[in-house]
Every structure is written in structure tokens, then in C-alpha cells.
Symmetry: C2
Subunit: 264 residues, 2 copies
């Protein structure tokens, strides 16, 4: 993980005593995404799984729907840029530049409100997907256990995809949104469907995270942090089970608790 942290010389003050010390700091790096030869956006991210990040970002933005849309994917500029080629080039730029940007509090999210109405009319299924309270606690425990970059630096969010009570994919990033987009990108790359899975996150569940999940028909969202009113309202109408504040031996189920079973 050498390239994801950097050693910095710092001054530590503890109990009034000042000393020089070394500290591992999380690397933040720009990643420019080129779409069909045109510069689209530059994300600031943890430079790991950057192809997944690029694909997940484009999926979240509604610019591609499966790996079959992708005809090219290349890293360049010493991993500071990704070139993505998509089929169906016409119309892409109009799609991009004709929209207004909705962007959140704490997330690079650029989610679009017209998407809301579309999603509202088409709730997530996954009515038979369920997991037990004990499984949720153990998934959250494993998420924290695997967050090595967080343990080293305290400066990243983590996200995981879980199925059958197990973590299948795990990603970390300085960005709450980037971590989720990396999971989405990996699902595309490995052709994993999210319709019967749960997404486990370290960060807050704002409406943008909820919408990312909803677009992929993901039925269960789990976090150790707080949701917002808007994410709860969306989850309610979209038939998504929203679980927050999974800490210690407690959790809050905000919507559709039927998918969380009691332990035997």
C-alpha cells in the first residue's frame, strides 16, 4: 500500500509537549476522465482501482449501463488519467452538457433531479433478499477490519458489496462517493449483479448515495453513520432497506425492515 500513503514530517503537541514525528498521510491524487476523446471531469481520489472508479462514475452519471457499452479503457499520464471509449457516441455530449448539476453536501455527487421522478416510478424489487441482524453486525465488523488505509491514516471512507452474508468486494477512497463508485465499477467489470446484494458503507447515507444504489436496483444499504430525511424518503418509496448507525450491538432500520430477519 506504499503508494497510497506518504510519510510526512509533522509537529505533534501532546499534553503541552512539542516534538517532531513522522506521520502516514493518505495520498490524494487527481484523476482526469476522458470520454470518447474529450476531457470530461477530474476527480480527486485515492489512486487505487482507478479504472473501476472511472466506470462506476460514468455508470452513476447514467452515461453507460453495462460493460458492453465500453469499447475502450486505457490508463495514461502515469495513472493520472483514464480514457474511456463508449459505443453510441452521438448524443453523449448533449446528455452531459444539457443537464443541471445537483451536488451534495459531502460527496462529489453530480446527481440529476429529473432522475428522481423516473426512479420513483420504478421501485427496487429484491423482496426476497434478506439478511439477519447478526450478519449486518458482522459485515460492518469486517468492513472496519479490512479498512487498512483508514487504520493507517484516518483519512478515507470504505465501501463493500455483500452477498449471502459475506463481503464480495471492498474499496477505500478519500471520497465517500468515490468508494461507492469503485464498488459499482468493479461490479460492472466482473459482471456482478447488485439486485440481490447489500452495500455496506462507512459514510453518511445522503440522497446521492441512495440514488447510486437505486439506479443499480440494490435492495439493502447499510452504514455505521447517519441517513438524511431525503435518503429515507427515497428509500421508502423505492423499496430499499436503509440501515444506519450500525455500532456495537445496535442498529437503526429506517425503511423496509422486513428484509432484516431476527437471528435464530
Amino acid at each position: 500500500m506504499a503508494e497510497l500513503t506518504a510519510r510526512k514530517e509533522i509537529t505533534v503537541i501532546r499534553d503541552g509537549e512539542r516534538r517532531l514525528s513522522g506521520d502516514d498521510v493518505v495520498v490524494e491524487a487527481p484523476l482526469t476522465i476522458y470520454l470518447n476523446g474529450k476531457e470530461l471531469v477530474t476527480l480527486l481520489c485515492t489512486p487505487e482501482k482507478i479504472e473501476s472508479l472511472a466506470l462506476g462514475f460514468l455508470r452513476s452519471e447514467g452515461l453507460l449501463s453495462s460493460l458492453d457499452d465500453v469499447t475502450g479503457l486505457r490508463l495514461r499520464d502515469d495513472r493520472g488519467a483514464v480514457e474511456v471509449e463508449l459505443k453510441n457516441k452521438s448524443g453523449l455530449l448533449e446528455k452531459l452538457y444539457g443537464r443541471r448539476t445537483i451536488t451534495s453536501g459531502c460527496g462529489k455527487g453530480t446527481v440529476f433531479f429529473s432522475a428522481l421522478d423516473a426512479l420513483r416510478s420504478s421501485p427496487v424489487r429484491g423482496d426476497t433478499v434478506s439478511l439477519t441482524a447478526g450478519e449486518i453486525h458482522s459485515l460492518m465488523g469486517e468492513l472496519q477490519e479490512r479498512s487498512l488505509l483508514f487504520k493507517a491514516t484516518g483519512g478515507v471512507h470504505s465501501a463493500a458489496l455483500a452477498g449471502s452474508g459475506k463481503i464480495l468486494l471492498f474499496c477505500e477512497d478519500i471520497g465517500r462517493h468515490n468508494a461507492v463508485d469503485k464498488i459499482i465499477g468493479e461490479c460492472l467489470q466482473q459482471r456482478i449483479t447488485m439486485e440481490d446484494k447489500a452495500l455496506v458503507c462507512s459514510g453518511r447515507l445522503s440522497s446521492e448515495i441512495l440514488l447510486k444504489a437505486a439506479k443499480l436496483r440494490l435492495p439493502v444499504l447499510i452504514s455505521r453513520a447517519a441517513p438524511t430525511t431525503l435518503s429515507i424518503e427515497l428509500a421508502e418509496s423505492l423499496n430499499i432497506t436503509l440501515v444506519g448507525f450500525v455500532r456495537g450491538r445496535r442498529m437503526n432500520i429506517y425503511t423496509h425492515p422486513y428484509r432484516v430477519k431476527d437471528d435464530m
Copy 2:
């Protein structure tokens, strides 16, 4: 604070026992900013101090530099929109749409890399600005003490402007970036200079937060969370004192420790 939280009926599982309960959840609401009659962006935010948020956002984006640029500021749509009129209308839209977007991990930030080079050549002054380690601890304590919305919901970030060891302005928002932009907007509205002040934040210090501060020539940035490599490197070259992990009786000074004095 009634309109900033909403009561939701939730299911709590604790130690395997399931019960229904009420829970206060932080309100997330869209705020659309219209600039000179054209829709610019929709932020998702905590609907408080929204004029300050709009002004601070525009300032951070480099679209205005002082209150003198603002010829109109109106709330509309039951506080879901703000109309801002700026002088010097020509050129504004070119400025806006000709740029690439740089957006971070965990922040709505849309900061532009061309700005980096410009800033690098012009470090912050404030060489005579200083505060003691004890003052930093007490500012962080007061920040947490005043974070009523966080105490109620666990779902927001807070930011404060400090001068002469005291908190002068305080803001909360679901977004790390929004909280800082609200402070910046309030400074504009009250014509408070930031050049001799410190910014105290609950959230991580990514490069975007650093750049917001740098644009306002703010010499000291304090957080209870982690910085990134990029924010440290920028702070180093811009002569900004970066203090992180202010917790308990400890803090890490990442750059320019000369502004942090020992307590007598």
C-alpha cells in the same frame, strides 16, 4: 431548530431485541442557485443560512470576490432557490462553462486546477497571526459544544471562523463543503476579512477545503480529522498552517508550525 430535523419512525435492534422508536433525522433539501437569471447549480444542503451558502459557493467558485459584486439576492420557491444578480454580467457564463470540473472524494467541491498554479505563486501572508495550543483545543471544544444539529442527528459537519482565540461565526451542514461555504458567505455578508483568522472544521481537510481557504488568504486551518497529501503540499507552498487530529490533549501540526505558540 424544528425545520432542520424531522421525526421518523424507525425500527431499532439492540442486543437482538427489536422495537419501534422515534428518531430525529437531519433534513436534506435541494437549493437551486440562479445566477443573473440562469439556473446554475442545485446543491443538497441543510436549509439554514442559505443566502450565505449561495454567496460562499459563488465566492469559492471564483464568480464573485466581494459583496460589492452582488446587486441582488432573493430567496424564492419557499426557500428552495436563491436568485443572485452579479455586476459584470458579460463573461460570467463563459467563465462557468468553459472550465473543467475538479471534484473530490467527499465534497461537492468543484475546484479548478488552473487555480492551483495561480495560488501557488502567491502564498498567504498572515505571518504575524498566531494562536496557542490551548486556544486550538478550546476552539475545537467549543465547535463540538455548539454542534447541536450533530448532537441531535449525527449527520452534519460543522465549521467556524475564529479570531483572537474566539469563535466568531459558526455553521452546520450535511456537507463538509457547504459548511465552509456558509462561513465564507457570512464573512462576505458581514464584511469580515479572513486574512487574520483561523477556520475550524469537523471534517477532513482535502485539497478542496484548503483551496477555499487559500482563495481568502486564510492563514490557519484546524480540524479534528485527517488531511491528505495534496492538502499538506498546498498548505506548505501557500504558507498556510494546517492542524489536524485535534482530539483530547493532542494535535498534529502538518505545516508552518510557527503560528502555533506554546501556552505560557
